[in-house]
């Protein structure tokens, strides 16, 4: 299985000139170097060509996975563990209750503990899930989830192992009456295989000295606890773990999160929703979203006996008649065994698929946060005068259904009025903290004309004002610009949906701001009346010599007359 996924990695490898070529038994033949180096024979080269371990690859390219700086490594580690925990809880239908504890071991070394109340992991799987890169349940399916690739947590484990030499520690229990297990796992970085360092049954009989641990073990009905020691630095602020946890609670109003920061300060984020979000459904790939390479791979791996049933069963929105139609259009016999299809035939099929009109993919498979919970989540963390949110209907890019949600908070004195507004980005409920300017969300916010809604905006910049903008993209496959999942790629369909969502909340904001201006104007007029009518009384008294009583009567009558006319305006 790992080999198959190597393709993904190997593609990136091309940019790395010093790296060796991928394995020859790869499913998709890679091109030989265009210009063989003259001084070496093919035999010499063959001697040097060998499989690249993903772990070796990771060591060289850890920035691709979000471990490029010590500060970011800490964030990525927490993020991967939290993503997994939340995904696991939701899939099992459990309201998530997460505990995150970060403690400082030294200035450059931290311990990260993330515990969830999810379904737990069966004993046999624990070593592979945490000790092997590209092992997981999420890569091979199309379903909205936080994790997508099965790299994350094991990469964090590998990072810890590489920087501190310490194994990743996993405790997991699948139910109250089932035995829990605690593993210490290292990764054999050459073979990409887990090595179990220690394995112990959880019985609440941890060493008496470790009180905290014992308490945890007792309270541990079901769930998973991940403990890592990594080289890292801790920073406060929006781009740090602090910001990540806070934003996670905004996008996951159904989750309770307890976060203890390295300073020992405890942050409690209570849940504002007591129901789990609608469970996302898994769908088969839509033919229009499949590239030729993937089609070839699917042809070779399918269990279908012939092309027609392959098209019908392995894809969504392909009925049996349509499958036959595609095969005929491609000049391929519908009865042909898929595995025997040559590259040319696969290409013909690919072209035929592109030329065939198909129904759009099912879009009710996604799980939006929903405009009400978006508001709740935002209100919980941001103090403002005005909130608006919108949750758009699903749309499709490259055969993948996705949907966009947006919310904003405005005014109220707590948000800085003369700075650029704050943008919070989410993809499948996960906060995106880095690479803001490369992200389709940021581009869409900048391209939206905020002046229309009464908000200042300089050219090519985020709007300026006491404003927090939040955008969430949910999809069965969010197109990130890199494996570290920090920025959403700018597909025109996605940009369009984000723009429409922003315009929707923008319009609501515009109404509010204009109403505010109107009220301010009315208030000004009201105060005008209060301020200046006495002077009319004084002047008339001075000129006409009227007594105070009459003066008061004049003022009162005039005030009444003006108030009434103001209201009739």
């Amino acid at each position: 299985m790992a080999k198959r996924q190597l393709k993904l990695i190997a593609r990136k490898q091309k940019t790395d000139r010093s790296a060796k070529k991928a394995a020859p038994n790869e499913a998709i033949p890679l091109k030989k170097p265009a210009k063989p180096i003259v001084r070496l024979t093919a035999t010499d080269l063959a001697a040097r060509q060998r499989e690249i371990s993903v772990s070796e690859f990771f060591t060289k390219n850890r920035h691709l996975l979000g471990f490029d700086s010590p500060a970011k490594a800490l964030l990525t580690t927490v993020k991967e563990a939290v993503d997994n925990g939340l995904d696991a809880c939701e899939e099992a239908g459990i309201l998530p209750d997460l505990v995150i504890v970060i403690s400082e071991i030294s200035e450059t070394r931290y311990k990260v503990v993330v515990q969830d109340n999810g379904p737990g992991i069966v004993k046999a799987q624990i070593p592979r899930v945490f000790g092997q890169l590209l092992y997981g349940s999420k890569f091979h399916r199309l379903r909205q989830s936080r994790g997508q690739q099965g790299i994350g947590i094991s990469a964090a484990g590998m990072y810890g192992q590489l920087t501190t030499g310490r194994p990743i520690k996993i405790a997991s229990r699948t139910g109250l009456n089932k035995p829990g297990h605690e593993f210490e796992i290292q990764i054999d970085t050459k073979r990409n295989q887990p090595v179990v360092v220690s394995d112990r049954e959880l019985d609440g009989k941890a060493p008496a000295a470790d009180k905290e641990k014992r308490a945890v073990e007792r309270a541990f009905e079901h769930g998973t606890r991940v403990e890592l020691e990594i080289e890292a630095t801790y920073k406060k602020g929006r781009h740090s773990v602090d910001g990540y946890v806070e934003q996670t609670s905004i996008a996951n109003p159904h989750a309770k999160i307890t976060y203890v920061d390295p300073g020992g300060e405890r942050h409690e984020y209570d849940r504002v929703a007591t129901e789990l979000p609608k469970a996302p459904l898994e769908i088969k790939p839509h033919p229009h979203g499949v590239e030729l390479g993937i089609l070839l791979k699917m042809l070779h791996e399918t269990k279908a006996r012939n092309i027609a049933s392959f098209l019908h069963n392995d894809f969504s929105r392909v009925s049996a008649p349509v499958a036959e139609e595609i095969a005929r259009a491609a000049g391929v016999s519908p009865g042909m065994t898929p595995g025997k299809a040559a590259r040319e035939q696969a290409e013909a099929l690919y072209n035929a698929i592109q030329a065939t009109k198909l129904m759009a993919p099912q879009s009710n498979v996604l799980s939006p946060i929903g405009d009400e919970l978006l508001l709740e989540g935002l209100k919980k963390q941001v103090t403002a005068d005005f909130y608006a949110s919108t949750s758009r209907s699903p749309a499709v890019y490259r055969g993948n259904p996705f949907l966009v949600e947006a919310a904003l908070a405005y005014g109220g004195g707590h948000l800085p009025a003369d700075e650029l507004s704050t943008l919070i980005r989410f993809a499948n409920r996960v906060p995106l903290l880095y690479q803001q300017s490369a992200c389709a969300i940021t581009k869409s916010v900048i391209q939206t004309t905020w002046k229309t809604y009464g908000i200042q905006q300089s050219r090519s910049a985020l709007p300026t004002g006491p404003l927090v903008i939040m955008v969430h993209i949910a999809s069965v496959w969010v197109p990130f610009t890199s494996e570290s999942k920090e920025a959403v790629a700018s597909y025109p369909e996605i940009m369009k949906e984000i723009r429409l969502a922003l315009q929707d909340v923008g319009r609501k904001l515009g109404l509010y701001i204009r109403r505010g201006l109107r009220e301010a104007d009315a208030e000004k007029k009201r105060s005008y009346i209060e301020k200046y009518i006495p002077h009319i009384g004084i002047a008339l008294q001075e000129i006409l010599g009227i007594d105070d009583k009459r003066k008061e009567k004049v003022c009162a009558t005039l005030k009444d007359t003006l108030e009434r006319s103001r209201k009739n305006e």
Binding site: K525, Y532, I533, A539, K553, T557, L562
Partner: protein, 362 residues
Amino acid sequence: MSEANVVPKIKKEAKAVEESILKRKKPSLKFPIRSLANVRYLEKEGYFEIRGRKKERTLTVNTVKTFAQTLRMMALSKTLVETDDIATKREAYYVSKNWDEARFLEQTESDTVMDDVEALFEVNREQLGFVPEEKGGDVAGNLIVIDKDPNTGKTIRIDCTKFGSGAYSIPISVEDLKFETKAKFILVIETAGMFQRLVKHGYWKKANCILVSMGGVPTRACRRFIRRLADLQKIPVYVFVDGDPYGISNIYRTFKVGSGNAAHINEFFCVPQARFLGITPQDIIDYKLPTHPLKEVDVKRAKDALKNDPFFLHHKEWAKAIEHLVSMGVRAEQQALAAHGLNYVIEKYLPQKIAHPEKFLP
């Protein structure tokens, strides 16, 4: 000029406002529109008369501030008149600083309200107790001004021949002055420089005249002083200004027939008997005067006068003269005569001109 007390007028207006308020109506004040577009030129009387157009300021939420300020300005005026006191425009501005929220933030605001009140009652601001800051003008020559000592009330005679190289300064209020003179004419001069030259060389003695320096656009006091002097003593008035659109259409026109802005009082603050001695466009040619090119703003001013100014529209000779100036594209200052010798103006130009007053422009 009518000496009618303005207090009853103020009371009447205030009463109307009060009654209107008590009837639960929005009171309003009617102000004449003060601009050239709202004047007509009365040829016989010789001044710009205000036409009927008025703007009505109704008391609404939006106008309540200005309305309150206008009423308070009226109250201030009443107090000033009743206590026989005066306030300069600047002082009135400072008085308003006691009005809390209704105070003026800039003097231009209080000046505008003052002008409005003045126009509302169609009186001169001096009648309201408000006096301008600026000086009235300088006088030298064969004239005795009869004034009263402001403290003792005793009559004093001021001999304008006895100021040496200085001059008598026209007071702000000229209504009670009396005059004695045997002068043949009054020569009104635009610049202080030319005035000094004529005084220094005793021109008034030589020509038996009264010299008045306006120092630019004449103040109301200056105009009123010359008007009364000329009316009472029945002597002609000759105006000697720069030969440019400003000297002609701003200074001379305002002096002779009044302005659009003060249209409600032009009747009293104009000198219809004034005649234009020079410098005429023809003088530039006849006296071979050194010139400067007309600036863009000069040309615009000249064209404006030809198109919109009722005075120049009425006098064809003037229209021709201005067109002549524009076609030459040049202007000449009074002092340009010095090109022919410093005292050329006294020895040649003025005597030659004065010999033929019938040739003066109207």
